[in-house]
């Protein structure tokens, strides 16, 4: 991983989702780590910061909302993109209140994720330039 | 309660096993899974005696692995579930023998819910269930076991049905409701509180005598399909069928409802 490379953490309890996203984002030049359990994801996030987090909301036994709250508390500059298979008005609203950058309802095209990640990258770079 | 559950490596068995395991959280039961491996044609062409016995033993061992893996995957942590019995032979005959000799209170099998009732009737009127005197629980879907609906009609022997139900489920921590069914072809249902209905009142008294206060009592009139669908909130519909005699509209309700059905034989 080089200094300029953006790092992305993906959390979704469905391996099919992480398997699909990882190679497509790596192809775009990002450093990607994937997790299917929030406990592992949060442990890893504590070890090393990630620029971008992509997380599902409804997962078996865990709450993606709690995970993103913790991420934002630990590192507010991390941009969070929510992906959800069970979208509701409340979850969309709550996600934005917690400061997520984008909210994508499943099913999504890879191009949608790429656009959201590009948006996050742009924002991170702009912030860095300001500082 | 001694329960015999018929297991095959299929969806219906997966549902029935998971369902009975849910019940075992609320009712104390001993669950005996059983699988009957039907030898395909030619299996016994080697003749009789020890050759046949050895072949049967091999078949049992092979099948046992498969069914035990299935049981582990579907019901790894099921209260009251014991080791599977594997038999070789004609499915109906072997099950019949096991039920007759095993002091079972209930026979359970998976039977997927079906749009047309013919599959239900094929089973109910089939030679196997016809010979059975033990109550049969047909599990059509995996529903939460929280509510039980006892379905009554004018032909039913209430004094036989309720004690039979209580023998099995008296101590179950579930809500029990009484539903008295009147046939009509109407797609709209008519409902009243059943206070004028003697059979409902008798069923209520029999339950109350054992300290069970029905959560809901209603007399309902409508087409079997509509009433069957309304029973969807139930965790189990209990009723009584007569193996002989004419088909009654209540059996159409049991055929069309997608929830598990406990049939007590008249």
């Amino acid at each position: 991983m080089n200094n300029q490379q953006m790092s992305i953490l993906i959390l979704d309890d469905e391996p099919i989702v992480t398997k699909r996203l990882k190679p497509s984002l790596e192809k775009k030049g990002y450093y990607v780590e994937t997790f299917t359990r929030s406990i592992d994801a949060i442990t890893r996030f504590k070890q090393r910061p990630f620029d971008i987090v992509i997380t599902d909301l409804k997962m078996e036994g865990i709450d993606g909302m709690e995970f993103l709250t913790e991420v934002k508390e630990m590192r507010p500059e991390t941009e969070v993109i929510v992906i959800t298979g069970f979208a509701t008005m409340d979850t969309a609203k709550e996600s934005f209140q917690k400061g997520v950058l984008d909210f994508l309802a499943k099913p999504f095209r890879l191009s949608e994720i790429h656009e959201a990640v590009a948006k996050a990258e742009k924002k991170i770079k702009e912030k860095k330039a300001q500082n | 309660m001694n329960v015999l559950i018929f297991i095959e490596n299929n969806l219906a068995s997966s549902i029935s096993l998971r369902y009975i395991c849910k019940q075992s959280q609320k009712v104390s039961m001993f669950i005996q899974p059983i699988h009957v491996e039907e030898p395909t044609q030619g299996h016994f062409q080697f003749g009789a005696g020890w050759v046949r016995k050895t072949w049967e033993r091999t078949l049992v061992d092979t099948t046992k692995d498969e069914i035990e893996t299935f049981l582990k995957a579907e019901a790894g942590n099921c209260r009251g579930l014991t080791k599977v019995k594997i038999l070789v032979g004609d499915k109906e005959k072997e099950l019949q023998k096991e039920i007759e000799g095993g002091f079972y209170d209930l026979f359970v099998m998976g039977h997927l819910s079906s749009f047309d009732s013919s599959m239900f009737y094929e089973l109910i009127k089939g030679s196997f269930l016809k010979k059975l005197s033990t109550p049969v629980l047909l599990v059509k879907n995996l529903t939460p076991f929280e509510k039980v609906h006892i379905l009554l009609d004018e032909y039913m022997d209430i004094e036989k049905l309720i004690p039979f139900y209580l023998k099995l489920y008296e101590n179950a921590q579930v809500n029990v409701s009484l539903v008295y069914y009147n046939f009509s072809e109407n797609k709209e249902v008519n409902i009243n509180d059943g206070s004028e209905n003697k059979k409902i009142q008798l069923a209520k008294e029999l339950l109350m005598d054992r300290g069970i206060s029905p959560a809901e009592i209603l007399e309902i009139e409508g087409s079997p399909e509509v009433v069957g669908d309304r029973l969807k909130s139930s965790g189990m519909v209990v009723s009584m069928l007569n193996k002989k005699g004419r088909k009654r509209p209540i059996s159409d309700v049991l055929a069309s409802t997608p929830v598990p059905v406990l049939i007590i034989w008249d």
Binding site: V17, A87, A105, P107 | N10, L11, F115
Partner: protein, 285 residues
Amino acid sequence: MRILVAVDTNPYSSYVVNEVGKMAINTWSDITLLGILDPKKSTGKVEESDLAKSLLDFREIITSYYPKGECPYSREEIKSFSQIKDDVYVATGKGGLKTLKIVIRKGINPVQEILNQADEDESTLIVLGCNKTNKCKWDDMDVPSKVANQASCSVLVVKENKTPKQIVCCLDQEYITQNSLELINQMVTLYNAELKIVGVAEGESLKMRVENTMKNLFMYYLKQDIPLWLEVINSSVFPNFVHQMSQDNLIAIWLGPKSFLKKFFPDEKITTLISDAPSSVLLLR
């Protein structure tokens, strides 16, 4: 999720927009509102057409679902359309977290124009409406059923503003895509409806592949903690079943190119299903 909403100026299109509005408030999808102008009938400026006025109204309807300050789409007033290529005009407001754009395409074949737009947008879902009293046609053209038959993505044909009691999914033995499952999940969440998975049995028992698919779905929804009804039907009663189920429910049918259900629902039967079903139909791909 990217939704392409194909509309015309008939009243059923406002049903569609309302349904999409409900979907959008949950999913914050990117939305394209598409109208097709017949070049022979419209010679004036695109923005002066009745269609453009309807599309602007529909945009208002979708944004009106959100309280002030909470709308993910731009509410900026649209004054003009820009021509982005031959016979394609686009209007969109500035800003907004999500895209809500209006597209007008000029063409004599509305079906082809809708399919082209869906390909260009990489749409996840095409939503279009029709009236159940006129065999689901758009001015005597079989637009909804042809789009449903030919689209490469899923298609929802909306008949009326009615909340379905159940989402009834008729299973194919083919591989069930993750996308189609996710679309089903969004529909179940949106309508707070029950989910029923139906396996079509041929002859005595369920075909092994259908049963395997049903079992996989059963396990999937068990893991998701979503209540699920399973049902089997004999192939001989399948058309009856679909007709009966479509009275109060949303029928969802998986129709891949090699679909086993294609036997029961060839293109002409899909047309019949769409034209005869009293409620909405979702074709999954």
